[in-house]
């Protein structure tokens, strides 16, 4: 039996005339790792902020742990842990003091805190850093401390807004190990946003959000099965001509990419020998330089449902936009 720990119905958020979230509905089941995947400005932070009662919704309903975010905000807040997109630690205090203050703000008794603080610091491997000022921590250590802080008061749901943003690949994978392990050990539900496809693969289910709307929602495997086709990548000495021939002979849509042609076929392994034979038989066929086959990834799913490539939005551009946004605030 599965129970919904988050229930969202027709959620709308408008900033003036601009609708950042356009009537989305979804459920999150207890115990799952639920991912919100979308490009910059899709409405991920807006949705998380509403679920955490930091923003008021314009219309619709949202229940978190059975509490209505509009009417029971204190109850919602007490039952969730939250890790923001940007750091929110007190740099002038030590790791332990940050946790102590958090615990007190969340009404955790001192006797519990005395045991729990070393415990969560241990979970994120920061025990030796307990009494250091947080200002001296690296980005990855700050993130880990924030995860520890988010878990301190035994929340039933942990919300993470882009938990690995701006971290190096190794630290990113470490953070993921923590998230998955903690979810297992503490038995909590995880709701996170990301725009990294490889991270989304770790989720039990993913909602792909674009321009404030959910365009797909399922498990990573099911999403990939949605485009049940294999993807062929082909490079020839005349790609223009090759594309025309393929479209005519096989009736598939061909995309022109930087690394040659891409098209989808049902059974790639069987298709390739057939294709090569037919191509070399033709009178004026282009010469094949390279051909490869791959299973569909979430990138392909994303491309399919949004019509855009999430990877186009490079990390640099993202950071630049964030800095600009931060400065203009």
């Amino acid at each position: 039996m599965s129970t919904n720990i988050i229930e969202v119905r027709n959620l709308v958020k408008k900033y003036g005339d601009f609708a950042a979230v356009k009537g989305i509905s979804f459920n999150v089941e207890a115990g799952e790792v639920f991912g919100f995947l979308g490009p910059n400005g899709a409405g991920k932070t807006t949705t998380i902020s509403i679920l955490c009662t930091l923003l008021r919704l314009t219309s619709g309903t949202a229940l978190v742990n059975g509490f209505d975010v509009s009417t029971a905000s204190m109850k919602v807040r007490g039952s969730i842990g939250l890790i923001f997109q940007e750091t929110s630690l007190d740099n002038q205090l030590t790791a332990r003091e940050n946790l102590q203050i958090h615990g007190e703000l969340y009404g955790v008794a001192n006797v519990v805190l005395r045991r729990r603080i070393p415990e969560v610091l241990g979970m994120v491997d920061l025990s030796e850093w307990s009494d250091r000022l947080v200002g001296a921590f690296s980005g990855g250590m700050k993130r880990r401390l924030e995860i520890a802080r988010g878990l301190l008061h035994h929340p039933r749901i942990l919300f993470l807004d882009e938990p690995t943003l701006g971290l190096d690949p190794q630290t990113r994978s470490h953070i993921w190990e923590y998230i998955l392990r903690l979810r297992h050990d503490e038995g909590i539900t995880v709701f996170l946003t990301t725009h990294y496809m490889d991270e989304a693969e770790n989720c039990s289910r993913i909602a792909i959000i674009d321009h404030g709307e959910i365009v797909a929602l399922d498990s990573p495997a099911a999403l990939k099965a949605m485009s049940a086709q294999d993807i062929i990548n082909l490079d020839t000495d005349d790609n223009q001509l090759a594309a025309e021939l393929i479209e005519k002979r096989f009736g598939v849509a061909v995309r022109m990419g930087g690394d040659g042609l891409h098209f989808e076929v049902a059974d790639g392994a069987r298709f390739i020998p057939e294709f090569i034979a037919s191509f070399s038989n033709g009178e004026r066929s282009p010469r094949i330089l390279r051909i490869s086959l791959r299973r569909p990834t979430l990138d392909d799913v994303f491309l399919k449902v949004t019509g855009r490539d999430i990877r186009r939005q490079g990390a640099d551009e993202t950071e630049g936009q964030r800095m600009a946004a931060k400065l203009s605030r």
Binding site: C52, T53, L54, M74, K75, R77, G78, L82, F84, E86, T87, S88, L89, D90, N91, Q92, L93, E97, I101, H102, E104, L105, Y106, G107, V108, A109, V112, E119, G122, M123, D125, H153, H154, R156, H174, E177, Y178, R181, D185, E186, G187, I188, R329
Partner: protein
């Protein structure tokens, strides 16, 4: 991943603060926010010392610089004695309005979000900040007061100091709520500093800290009456000068009765605290 505790506590010991009443939770939140602010000040001792230097310099330089020129023209007492209550009020004003910048910093460094997302009512957050600012400003006023016998050549009895404490605190409450509210509204540090100069100087100069509020042009008289600091300087001067004034009538210096001053300070505090809570509720 390396070593980690094999057995973690089960979620059955989830902490639910059900036994505590709402008031208890609010007081706990208030105490936590207050304590964090004081911890900050304690960690940042250069700032603490630095903010004492300005009022002390004022007392030393302006007091001694103007004393020969002014002589005993104001109420028949030495100018240094006349202005020390104003300098005490000034240190309270500067310290507590400047304290408002901590809200801007908290926003800048993200910690404000942690507080705003916590299950703590917003009025508790606002009050915690204001009370911490008042505590810091009152303490600072008292420290400056310790230098007065020496710098203003005035005797101060312990009983006078004790009597001054509630007035310093009441004034701090007014000025801290002003600082904290402005800190919550103004989002950049530069803008906050500009606002300080634009707002704090007139508040200070119109309060009677530097010259008696007698025979002023009408516009100045009106402005000084709506300046909350006027009602802080007045009782501090009346009480602070009791030792000096044995031979003089206190009425020479008094602008209002002390009771009226207290009433006005309470009115200002009520208005500004309400405003502050309203602003925090919208954050």
């Amino acid at each position: 991943m390396g070593s980690h505790p094999a057995s973690l506590p089960s979620t059955t010991d989830i902490h639910v603060p059900a036994t505590e009443s709402r008031i208890e939770r609010d007081l706990q939140g208030l105490a936590t926010i207050w304590r964090r602010e004081l911890l900050h000040v304690w960690r940042d001792k250069p700032r603490l010392v630095g903010s004492l230097i300005q009022p002390l310099l004022f007392l030393l330089i302006i007091g001694n610089g103007l004393a020969p020129a002014v002589g005993n023209a104001i109420g028949g007492i030495d100018f240094k004695k006349f202005i020390f209550p104003g300098i005490i009020a000034m240190s309270v004003l500067f310290s507590s309005v400047f304290y408002g910048i901590t809200v801007v910093w908290d926003r800048e460094f993200g910690f404000l979000k942690e507080i705003l997302a916590a299950p703590v009512r917003r009025y508790v957050v606002a009050l915690g900040k204001i009370l911490a600012g008042s505590t810091i400003a009152t303490t600072q006023g008292l420290i400056v007061l310790m230098f007065v016998p020496w710098l203003a050549e005035t005797s101060l009895s312990a009983s006078v100091v004790v009597k001054l404490i509630p007035f310093l605190f009441l004034l701090s409450l007014v000025t801290s709520s002003l600082g904290v509210t402005l800190g919550a509204i103004i989002k950049s540090i530069q803008a906050f500093q500009v606002m300080m100069m634009v707002l704090v100087m007139p508040l200070y100069f119109l309060s009677g800290a530097f010259f008696p509020l007698k025979d002023l042009p009408t516009w100045m008289d009106i402005l000084s009456k709506i300046d909350p600091l006027t009602y802080g300087v007045d009782p501090i001067r009346q009480i602070g000068l009791t030792a000096v004034l044995r031979s003089h009538s206190i009425q020479v210096f008094a602008v209002h009765t002390i009771g009226f001053d207290v009433l006005m300070l309470c009115v200002f505090a009520a208005i500004l605290i309400t405003w502050s809570i309203t602003v925090f509720n919208r954050l």
